[in-house]
Symmetry: D3
Subunit: 314 residues, 6 copies
């Protein structure tokens, strides 16, 4: 039915559904108010101007609403812009799956829940297991809906949980190759390491930073939560401070946001796995858009490198 925004061409007439990512009011040279709408679907974003906007329009076309637009794709200063002919809100009887508008993890929440629960089930140290289970339960809904970041990688719906599941799978294979690794610590560290993001970020979609997120950061937030959980569960063993350290150190270095570098073997491995999953994910995404025999666009978070897709790669 609908053609994705990324595939729009100048001159084309379209009629389809969009999610309003942001709606901002402005005043035109003629003194009349207008709305600048950033419209999104899963494939991209496009700007649209709604001229001579009424007060009703302002109330109706707010952030995160779904609308239907009929219009023309035009060019403005080298970028595409949508000229709106008709616009209306979604009607009650219309059912557009949210997947149409936003990117989400390739696994269903239930699958991820079942995998993570299995990993927790495998733990043998009761203190570590109880703290992990307690905190996961405390923030469960958000954990399975939030992204892992606002940009770069896993910045989509359920991205946080999906990142954790991928990391757990890597951890499992490393545990079998290096049997000295403490499985409980490593699994718990992975599950908790970014859990503070459910407080640091504002929501599952188009997330921004909360005040607590900006002033304290997700690492500090979850370290405090582990402390409170231990108090609540009346756990006093060394596991508490060790788990807090796992999370505290997972950025690897002070200048990357970890006030203490990893001083536990599993903390070092956690830092590695986190990095590895993030980097492969970013490179895969860049190469998905690249033809064999060509270089990808530059990836800012990877030192602005461009990656080559060999021509013999099928």
């Amino acid at each position: 039915m609908n053609k994705g925004i990324r595939f729009f061409e100048i001159g084309e007439q379209i009629e389809q559904y969009f999610l309003i990512k942001s709606s901002t009011k402005g005043i035109a040279s003629n003194g009349k108010p207008f709305l600048t709408l950033i419209l999104q679907d899963k494939t991209g974003e496009i700007e649209a101007k709604l001229w001579d906007a009424t007060e009703e329009d302002e109330l109706r076309y707010t952030d995160q609403t779904i609308i239907k637009i009929q219009g023309d794709v035009q060019s403005f200063r080298g970028k595409q812009q949508l000229r709106v002919r008709k616009i209306r809100p979604l009607m009650e009887q219309e059912q557009i799956p949210i997947d149409y508008f936003i990117e989400r993890a390739p696994l269903e929440i239930e699958e991820m829940q079942s995998k993570i629960n299995e990993y927790i089930f495998e733990m043998t140290n009761p203190n570590i297991q109880r703290i992990t289970r307690y905190l996961l339960k405390k923030f469960e809904t958000k954990f399975y809906e939030y992204p892992a970041a606002t940009k770069n990688h896993h910045e989509f719906y359920s991205g946080l949980a999906f990142h954790v599941v991928s990391m757990l799978d890597i951890a499992k294979s490393l545990v079998s190759l290096y049997p000295q690794l403490n499985k409980d610590l490593l699994y718990a560290g992975i599950i908790l390491h970014d859990l503070g993001k459910v407080i640091e970020l504002s929501g599952p979609v188009s997330a921004s930073y909360t005040l607590e997120g900006t002033l304290l950061g997700h690492i500090t937030i979850i370290v405090e939560e582990i402390g409170k959980a231990a108090e609540q569960l009346e756990i006093e063993g060394e596991e508490v401070v060790v788990l807090q350290h796992m999370v505290l150190a997972h950025h690897g270095k002070a200048e990357w946001g970890s006030p203490k570098p990893p001083m536990i073997r599993e903390a070092e491995v956690l830092h590695f796995i986190d990095n590895l999953d993030a980097k492969i994910t970013m490179i895969n995404r860049a190469l998905d858009k690249t033809k064999p025999g060509e270089f990808s666009e530059r990836v800012f978070a990877l030192d602005n490198r461009s990656f080559y897709k060999p021509s013999f790669q099928d």
Copy 2:
């Protein structure tokens, strides 16, 4: 009565009291055990060897005991060493003030308590005031006895409280010069900023790092304590996260141990005052041992600089 260790000269015979800073057992070439004692008084340290040490000696001459030695000051590989003729523990009736052996803050604990309480009393925001008072009370004894560090500056008995008092005095004068500063935040930040040291360090004298101190650090420790205090006191205002940020950011930069840089005006000022008091204290100490017209020894924590005492300085 006693001559300070710093003033010992080779060839001299001495007879006086020392605090054993550390006692380590070794085995001599002849196969017999001996003790290497590091003796200290307020002016310095000297090594002594106790040859043919009995098991009783080992039990008697342990760390932090006070002893009396009669012996000769000798030279060994360019350093002074004490040749022990007689040694015995302190006898019950002997009263040696602890000040003789260790350095301590120039203010009495009572004076510092009264000054700090006055600063708390001046606060007008009840949330900030209550959290500060609660945490100070929780760790009060240790707060007034612990050093502020294990080396470099304020590493003496009551050093932590003394550092806080000096900083509060600077803060007071800045508040009067820059009236926009929020006095409550600044005073509370100063009082709490290093309070985590009472958990990070092992004790008031010859302090080393605890496990929690090594793996988490005093900043993370006290941030968590502020969170728990707020929960306990049922305080939910923005003051909690702002206070936590004040403490979190007081090292100024990620690479110096603050995962977030100051993003509150008073946090920036707190960072400054902390630095200023530490630096003036270190330079003063180096110059105290320097004659006019000469350069001091190098101060490692100040980029290994040496400071000149002008010859016109009286």
Copy 3:
């Protein structure tokens, strides 16, 4: 009478006085000359185009002239622009206080002079006092009119003197808290530290860098001036080189422009005070424009940080 530029709104008609910050000639597509005027008052700047400019216009509407304009506020590429209907130079009988057009220090020159003279009066070392007084006298007029910088902080009329006065006040309170500090050195260092700016910069308003300023910098300039002053006054004591060092080292580190780091206690303190006054001033300015509960704009010179104004701040 006049509405500040910062408060102009699109569509508005205005008629008021401006200072021409810069006037640049251009050639329009129709081949005729026009002037691009950057107009300023104390609250901000706005661009105006004067089309079909005559040669007389060019001569009349030059930098730093005051003019009266009647026109309309319009929008051009997202920024405000003034469409000129009528323009004329200031007439002789019109008296517009310069404060209307430019920012200036909050203290009057006389007040600052009296404060600084008092600080000089307090000095007891005659060599330091004489050099300070001699150089201040030599550059007196400029010292009280120049800014302390071309941007970031104290970049306004009398900014240099005001920065010095604020620093002296901080110094005074530090001297009382740390009595070991040599008051004479510290006060003299503060008064002289940026005095080279009267040669480095081009003038009191809209300052740019002179050739000497660019090739040598204000630090080198004033160090040489201290040397010449001593020669002139026939002063030969160690005070000369120590004062030169105070100034030379006040940027704190080689990479910040001081070829020698502070190696005198008072030089370290001077560096601190300079930094502190600059930083508080920048943060205050950013927060003045910020509502409680919001973050300020980013401050480039403070590592591009944004500062939060707590919502409980009144």
Copy 4:
């Protein structure tokens, strides 16, 4: 039979076999020549002095010879030293397994050969497979005997091949988790990445750097070898330059010795796996010598960090 050097105690008499790690001639104060022998077995090293050494001794007791010594363990300047009573070379009939003297990989060469051949067998791209097989064959003996480094990790007999096998195992599990990865490239890159070490280093035991190793380094050496192999095998596809890049980039950054950063996905992953195996190996070794509840010695190659072994770790 033999007690390892690490377990020697002062005062003990020993009689056992050693490998001479190095033998250096000196002249004693009495004008007579002596030999300083560094003796090693798998557990450690000890110094021995052979006084009044004859010319025959000099020729007999050279580097890498096995000898038998009867002597006493003594203390000299705080370190153990062996006082030699009797010394003689290994006699023909004596059979001391080389494992007694040197550390070696935990897998037999045949096992490693079979694993690596299997990985090569799995490759489907003939160009990649042929180059890999050709170069492995060219340097086969050395590849299975050389260490991977002179210190830090895998610096033992067969260390290079063992490091490669461990990396291939990690690669295999990553390939199954991230199916986009090109298995052929990744396996070939791992097998070749450090192969230049067989030219960079001097031999399988107590390796030092060759001239080529010092002036060019193992990365440049093997990149050239790949080029020559392709020429020899008359392979001209893009695989050649891509394989060369895999090796060239495996240190990850210019400052770590790779003139080009990874610009192929598999090159980035190779860099990660290399790092991961090296780091886990180093941490494991440090923790093997550490008791639960204690910190390990500092590991220089890991930013001089010390690692904690949790007390709940069995």
Copy 5:
């Protein structure tokens, strides 16, 4: 006849020859195709739009074609643009020397050849001489046509050879001042150091990077070529690895692209000469466009510095 592009003025009508640097197709708002042509001559570049471009136009006006245009110089968004009235390809009988369109080295190829051959002739070590001669011969045509870089310095036709000649002349005078320098090594190193650019870059004009250039870089490329040349010439002496090192190390530091720093005296000197010629060339170019008493534009490759041309400089 022709006026250089740099000297065009708005409003002017011109009729002259250009080289098309790049030709890009676009679609106008009216849905019709157009070509954006970047036109160049030796003095600069200008953009031209060819509206309503036919398919024939597309095929005719491609990169690196010479054309004749009649049109008007206009202003568009502050930059000059050429409005095309008439356009046609170069006719067969028209002879425009290539120097008119592109910058080239100030020496003729023959002169450079003769100078370089003389330097090779002066070498006395046959191994060094043969390798140098062999490689120069192998890539001779390209060596004398390619630029030394794509931007910053010597980025013109024959720039590579000209850079080498200038460096050889400096080397000659240093050899006479420091007679310990090995002339053969230094000359050979200079001739070979950038020779890999003939593979790294795509051609003599408007060069971009080849795949080999991007993934391996000119240093690695030529090091391999030296190895192959030695094999071909059956040279086995130490000269091979030393020459490879000369080239490998010529960027001076790992972070500048040399995996090994100079460890041969002549390698250090080669690095210096390379830098010196590059820097003087860049500064000269910047100052050529600067009037006495003014500062040049900023030179990005020289830390973005601006250079002053003294007013007493004639």
Copy 6:
């Protein structure tokens, strides 16, 4: 007659002249005073102990005295030490050329004077010429005797002038290769660039830093001297500030001690020549002590690199 210290062997008896580099009094275990003498000749240094030193000895054997010693070369803690049998001061009739004891430049002072005067004579700008001549005359004696540094390179008698002469010779050849260079500026900059060392350092032999040298540095010192010279000579042209900049910028970067980077072409070239002469000199010295086919000792000031002397180097 005399054998150089570097060639002493343990057990040897010697009788020869030495220069006392330093003489330090100590107190032996038996309570009697002794002198530790560091003796030097051009080839090296050796320590000698003079036991039971009388007060007369102390006065007689002070720094920089020449003495004659008869004694034995012994070994103490792995280093050679001289056991003194007889010692006496130099007698009046004994004539030992100073070259025997200290290293000095390979050119005579007169030769250097004549070369430098010739370079000054070649200058055509009278302002530059007069300032250079004036300052050279002002510090002439010291300029021809002082070293250029206290260690690393040119740290010998007349080292400063010799360094300047070598640099002038390089400059001369660069001026002929790059005719745009302003000869006057370059020559004057070279002659003046390190002239401040005659105030920064304490003397021509065994130099240490003066107070002015430590607090201001030779760059600041000479910049001020240029300013005073111009005042004295009543020169006011732009040459003054340009010459000051040449000297100010000759360390190239702020972190290397130049508060301004080179912003004049000749300043950049001066920085280069300074570096080049220093580096070649250091490498030559290291290689002089190295056999062909071996690596030199590490050179600290060259990033601690070791240099290889090729085996084909004669």
